[in-house]
Symmetry: C2
């Protein structure tokens, strides 16, 4: 098929985007110098990406709106695709340290992707201290989720420093013809015809879910859906963004998890809770109840072309109200299990509802929410988005240069002004924090506090070892 309709969730990311609130996912890679100079680095990286393009349809497809907006847009091959409109050079101001890198990424994060070409940009950023350079990637959330973005990065990079271009990928396929307006209208009519039936089915299913939730709630005497406290993370979001990155050794995280019969994910949740407790203590007040984090969860089935979102979401209680690091870890472990149980009750409602929403409804709801400043007047549903994306376990290379660090950066929303995303890479866990500095000042403190939280847990494990493992 030469074109493909966006899913309801893909389209929601498109229609909820405004000029002042972009919805893309980003990644920042730091690469070591090969001593070839920035122009030669760029030339080789460009050549590598050009060779990989034929195998990555996601990078060559752009959006086409259906006439009259009758149905969700479709992806089609861009017949005028030009790599130079997507791959750009940039440089950091002196001295090229973390502050300058974070600033440059924040400026890129503030700008929505142009809709008239494939929805991605890569920047080769030179001028990092020590002759290093960075690769910053930006892809629309309608095109990929976090896992899709990570898979894409892996497909563009090499597992071997001296990788040779694969000869099969050399020939560029002819772009497939875009569908005519008539074809798109006919298809839209078919999908609209099926809508009432699907709506009725969805209402029935959701009613059933309500009954199951009510039963579960009665039996456990607490609501399975957590309620979020009001915090400074949930104010109005302006068009400004601040970005900060950090990382911890994966071995440290594993040592903590082994000592407390936990998972890497539990330790990440606990360290995020510790970091946010520290941050909220400095900037306002620590709430007396857990924060609620929306944690995207990958669906087991993913489309072969890697396009679009295959996500559900867990609502996880983040125990920022607990002062003791080990209590936070135990609470995070329990909260994670609670969230999974609730998700089993609810099922994948989020995608099924999203499929029924019309583009106009999503865009209208976002416009009303933002214009009326509802973020300041309504209680938050979640306090922040927190994501943990599995990444490659071995080093990657780009045009012979080793990737020394890899950090994911997610999107934020009006009323939900902070996103923390964690990704494993080659023996470390990279964290990317992005926030609106008008709502969440001092975003740069959060990755440092995350690193300190992991270290704090590690110190406790080291001091008590081996007695703790048995006591837990």
């Amino acid at each position: 098929m030469s074109w493909r309709r966006l899913s309801g969730m893909d389209a929601a990311f498109l229609h909820a985007e405004t000029g002042d609130a972009p919805l893309h996912v980003m990644g920042a890679l730091v690469l070591e110098s090969c001593g070839r100079g920035p122009r030669e680095d760029f030339r080789r990286i460009r050549a590598q990406i050009e060779r990989r393009l034929p195998g990555l349809p996601i990078l060559r497809r752009k959006l086409v709106q259906v006439p009259l907006g009758l149905a969700r847009p479709v992806w089609v091959d861009d017949p005028t695709f030009d790599l130079d409109a997507h791959l750009r050079r940039a440089a950091l101001p002196a001295p090229g340290g973390n502050a300058e890198l974070f600033e440059a990424i924040a400026r890129m994060a503030e700008v929505p992707l142009h809709r008239d070409r494939p929805l991605w940009e890569f920047w080769v950023v030179e001028g990092l201290e020590g002759g290093r350079f960075a690769l910053v990637a930006k892809i629309h959330h309608a095109a990929v989720d976090g896992i899709g973005g990570a898979q894409l990065m892996c497909a563009l990079l090499d597992v071997d420093r001296n990788a040779h271009p694969s000869p099969t990928a050399e020939s560029e396929p002819e772009p497939e013809a875009a569908p005519s307006s008539a074809t798109l209208l006919a298809d839209a009519a078919l999908s609209l015809g099926a809508q009432p039936l699907r709506s009725a089915w969805q209402v029935l299913r959701t009613t059933g879910m309500g009954a199951r939730l009510a039963l579960a709630s009665l039996s456990k005497r607490k609501s399975p859906l957590p309620s979020a406290p009001r915090t400074q993370l949930n104010g109005r979001v302006t068009s400004r963004r601040a970005v900060a990155l950090g990382s911890v050794p994966l071995a440290d995280v594993k040592r903590v998890k082994n000592a407390y019969a936990a998972t890497v994910n539990h330790v990440v949740l606990a360290a995020c809770a510790g970091a946010l407790r520290r941050y909220l203590g400095r900037h306002g007040a620590i709430p007396r109840q857990p924060l609620v984090a929306a944690v995207p969860m990958a669906l087991s089935e993913r489309p072969a072309d890697g396009l679009g979102n295959s996500l559900s979401a867990l609502l996880v209680r983040l125990p920022v109200h607990l002062a003791d690091p080990i209590e936070r870890l135990r609470a995070a472990r329990e909260a994670s299990r609670d969230a999974m149980r609730t998700h089993e009750l609810i099922g994948n409602q989020i995608n099924e509802w999203a499929d029924l929403l019309s583009p106009t409804l999503v865009a209208g709801a976002v416009a009303v929410y933002t214009r009326l400043g509802l973020a300041e007047h309504m209680p938050p549903v979640v306090n922040l988005v927190m994501s943990n994306v599995p990444g490659p376990g071995t080093p990657l290379y780009c045009a012979g240069a080793r990737v020394t660090a890899l950090h994911p950066i997610g999107p934020i929303y009006d009323g939900c002004a902070l996103n923390l995303t964690v990704m494993s890479y080659d023996g470390s866990l990279g964290i990317g924090a992005i926030g609106c500095p008008d709502a969440v000042p001092g975003v740069e403190e959060i990755p440092l506090a995350f690193e300190a939280s992991v270290d704090e847990l590690l110190q406790i494990v080291a001091a008590a070892s081996p007695s703790i493992a048995a006591a837990s």
Copy 2:
């Protein structure tokens, strides 16, 4: 008054803007090194701009939409104004030559200004060859026209290398309170009430103008409103921009103008015609009739606060069809006088119509024009926008660093994919060309061709001097 409504033309620049077609005016200044290093340069420039802010309300005002979109938006003091959201550092990739500078400016030109804060950005760009740096300014066309932008730059800079901060400007005024929704609604109701009367008057005036034009046309046996040929300058505009800058000595231009009883403006028109003839010959075909350039013309009255557009527009025939440089100069001189005579007949219709257009109508018309690709199907009204802005005649300084060159950069529109703007500064004429590379490839050739055109005229004057002056 603590707020001020946009004029019809100001608002048209706002409502005609889309995420893929920004409508700002830009300026690029090149400054010599003071050997202080980029961080110290930035610190001093920031301090200078901060000191000047109190005297420049235009930089502290943001837009407020009237509830329900009943009338045009208003400017109000931004109570949360933060200079650091507007003044940014950037750097050029190696080797920091013209190609890298033009690329960096093009990237800035592609991004619309954020609507939730005052509509301007300045970038201090380091890494130019020879230790020089650039200052790139971007201001929304709803806030200033070319002359307003030039006046603003002068107000921010010094005429003296060792200028000391003026003590009167040190104290920052309290921002004035923004009007309430009720106030804005009441004012909108008043302005809507007056609308039908004003519409009727405008129709009467325009009918009168039509009669005068028809009479003038009969008496001269040619239409006073020129018709534009189809050219490659008038295709669909994508979100991509290319920028190129150049300059010529003002003394050269004056020598040519004196030899042919012309004005600087006539020589600029002739040199642009020569440059475009050369460009069109290389990229397609030279039309057999003149191009039509829309040339903004300053109104004599300008508001004291420098906010908004005080512009009318001339339609000038640009003699690209003539092979001889001197014939082009004579034709440009005549075309300029024709355009002035027609403008006297028509009067300042453009502003009076703009005042009557509703925001929804402008945005709707632009959306329809762009979506249906009308640029490809309708004959162009004008082939390009060409502007000649008077600038300062003596050198300017910023935080002690001398401005060695100053180039203006205007906006482009769907169906009108090239803008050439010229500005005088300290004994030279700077030219800025901006175009959509998908419609107008090779924009970088145009300033070079402009320089060559002026040189060609100068050579002819030098060879024939002093006999030409008498013959003309």
